[in-house]
């Protein structure tokens, strides 16, 4: 009963490999397109091997949407957002997990409700706020709205709860100030959780689309997803460039993922499955 027949095993492997072709095939196709001459994306029979025109496509893409600037925008926005949000959310998570204070439960409940509320509800008022401030088309209007990311606060709280109270008490007895305890004692211990949440925040902002689409108005301020969407809105789409653009938006995060997949997955699971 327990010994599987070789046939069943083979069928399982075949099905799993077909699944793999579906899930990573499109990426391979994207890289093939990015490295072949623009006109050849729709060749019949199609190209199945990477070509040598990657540089040319990249240059065309840079001429068209200023990809160097766009990459800088995306990186700058994402890194600033991740760093700030990490400090803000871990501070809040720490307060929720390790202190008893008036209003704690009420504020936490509000946060849980906020996770449910679709982000889209805030789009128009946010657009008005930043319009009134004269900040449409500015980096800070992309960075600010989601800094207090409810889900990240929630995750930090979950992780901080495992922190032993005795550790904090011992530091206090030693005369350490509260900030010192937070930055020098708590955060170093929490490094794995911080890494997971950082990856989560990074990915959210790197891939974020609807809000940058609304608030960024000129090509030199676009982030990668917005620049990509502007490319396919053109009357004549240059597919080599487009594929190069999607490759540039996907490849960094893919490499990142392959190096750090454990933290990646724990960041995305977010302790949600711990029973």
């Amino acid at each position: 009963m327990n010994t599987a027949s070789p046939l069943r095993k083979t069928i399982m492997y075949i099905l799993l490999f077909i699944g793999v072709i579906f899930s990573i095939g499109p990426f391979y196709w994207m890289i093939v397109g990015a490295t072949n001459p623009s006109g050849e994306v729709f060749n019949i029979p199609p190209n199945f091997l990477p070509g040598t025109h990657g540089w040319e496509n990249l240059m065309n893409l840079n001429e068209n949407v200023g990809i160097v600037r766009v990459m800088f925008n995306s990186l700058f926005i994402t890194l600033t957002f991740t760093a700030l949000s990490l400090v803000i959310c871990s501070g809040a998570g720490y307060a929720f997990a390790k202190f008893k204070f008036k209003g704690r439960n009420a504020i936490f409940f509000m946060l849980l409700v906020a996770i449910m509320i679709p982000y889209h509800v805030t789009l128009i008022p946010l657009f008005q706020i930043f319009g009134n401030l004269g900040w449409l088309n500015e980096y800070q209007s992309v960075i600010l709205p989601q800094l207090a990311y409810p889900f990240a606060i929630f995750l930090m709280r979950q992780n901080m709860q495992a922190l032993p109270d005795s550790l904090l008490e011992a530091s206090r007895v030693d005369g350490a100030g509260e900030f010192h305890i937070f930055f020098r004692v708590v955060l170093p211990v929490m490094r794995p959780a911080l890494a997971a949440v950082a990856i989560f925040l990074f990915m959210f902002q790197w891939n974020n689309f609807i809000w940058p689409l609304v608030v960024l108005q000129s090509g030199d301020m676009y982030t990668l997803p917005v620049a990509l969407s502007s490319l396919i809105g053109m009357s004549r789409i240059d597919y080599g460039q487009v594929m190069m653009g999607t490759t540039l938006s996907t490849l960094p995060i893919m490499i990142f993922f392959l190096l750090l997949q454990k933290q990646f997955i724990s960041g995305i699971l977010g302790g949600s499955v711990k029973e």
Binding site: L16, S23, G91, A114, A148, L224, I268
Partner: protein, 313 residues
């Protein structure tokens, strides 16, 4: 206790004094009592400005009309208009069709793959896990663009491969029926691996003794799957179902890129309609009303799902 009270009072004095002394004084107002408020203040402040205020403001806007700065209250006019708007019903209908067809397919696929990868028979588990999870890290915009090219009616790779086995070209993005299918295809591609990982984590929490006992009773693998695996995964099913429901109701990037809601509004979703009204026609009041109907739907569904979950426990 009395000492921390003294500290709390002195904190008021210190913080109002214009020139706080370094170190010595600072230690007085950051006490274990005030610390939580200091740690939480930035998050709460940002949250009030960028979430709470907009949520309220958007609610008020939904009762107003005005396109260029001059707003006046029209009370329920936006909502009345919404309930007579055929296009809104179409968007709502599309969203629910996707919800009812795609979410079950995706969760079913995810649980099957997770079970296979959890089996002792399979080697190279981490390779498969990485491969299946890969789509979940891609930008939705990039994924949608790749599929837009793959699914091109005349020149796309998918139709070419189909032509090799004698299938006529399919209007993946130009036919109302197939464009919905395409949209679901892209969503399935993107999210199955994500849910698979969640199920995998859930499967690893099922005690092995349950399977050993069933094995001894001579239960087949299929029976074990339906009588042990599925019931044990119930909380995970609920969790992924809630996540997928909320995600589907907010679907925007894929239909915006893939078809821009077309053809003939077959792939128009609620959030895409919201975006069009808000940022293409600049009808902020009407768009806010759409947003609030969405909030209401998500609220009701979440409440229902929690109720179902609550009754089980």
């Amino acid at each position: 206790m009395s000492q921390s009270n003294a500290n709390a009072t002195s904190s008021v004095e210190t913080s109002t004094s214009p020139n706080p002394q370094p170190k010595k004084e600072r230690r007085k107002w950051i006490t274990p009592r005030t610390a939580p408020y200091i740690f939480i203040a930035p998050a709460v402040l940002l949250f009030l400005i960028f979430t709470v205020y907009p949520v309220i403001s958007s609610f008020l806007l939904s009762f107003q009309e005005g396109k260029a700065g001059n707003f006046s209250f029209v009370w329920f006019d936006n909502y009345i208009r919404l309930f007579q708007d055929k296009l809104f019903y179409k968007a709502l209908g599309n969203t629910f069709i996707i919800l009812l067809i795609q979410v079950p397919i995706q969760l079913f696929l995810a649980v099957i793959i997770a079970t296979a990868l959890n089996s002792k028979l399979i080697k190279m588990k981490s390779f498969f896990r990485i491969a299946y999870f890969m789509p979940a890290i891609t930008a939705l915009v990039a994924a949608s663009i790749i599929f837009m090219i793959l699914l091109d009616e005349n020149y796309g790779l998918v139709n070419y491969l189909l032509s090799l086995i004698g299938v006529e070209p399919v209007g993946w993005l130009t036919d109302p029926f197939w464009s919905k299918v395409s949209l679901m295809l892209v969503i399935t591609w993107r999210w199955t691996g994500y849910n698979m990982v969640i199920f995998l984590a859930g499967l690893q929490n099922i005690p092995a003794s349950l399977y050993e006992a069933a094995e001894m009773d001579g239960a087949s693998k299929l029976r074990q799957f339906f009588y042990i695996t599925i019931p044990q995964l119930k909380p995970i099913f609920l969790f992924t179902f809630v996540l997928s429901t909320i995600g589907t109701l907010q679907l925007f990037d894929e239909p915006y890129i893939l078809t821009d809601g077309g053809p003939n509004n077959a792939t128009l979703t609620v959030t895409l309609y919201l975006y069009q009204n808000g940022f293409q026609y600049f009808d902020f009041g009407y768009a806010s009303a759409i947003a609030y109907v969405l909030v209401l739907i998500i609220g009701v569904l979440s409440w229902l799902q929690m109720k179902v979950a609550g009754e089980d426990k």
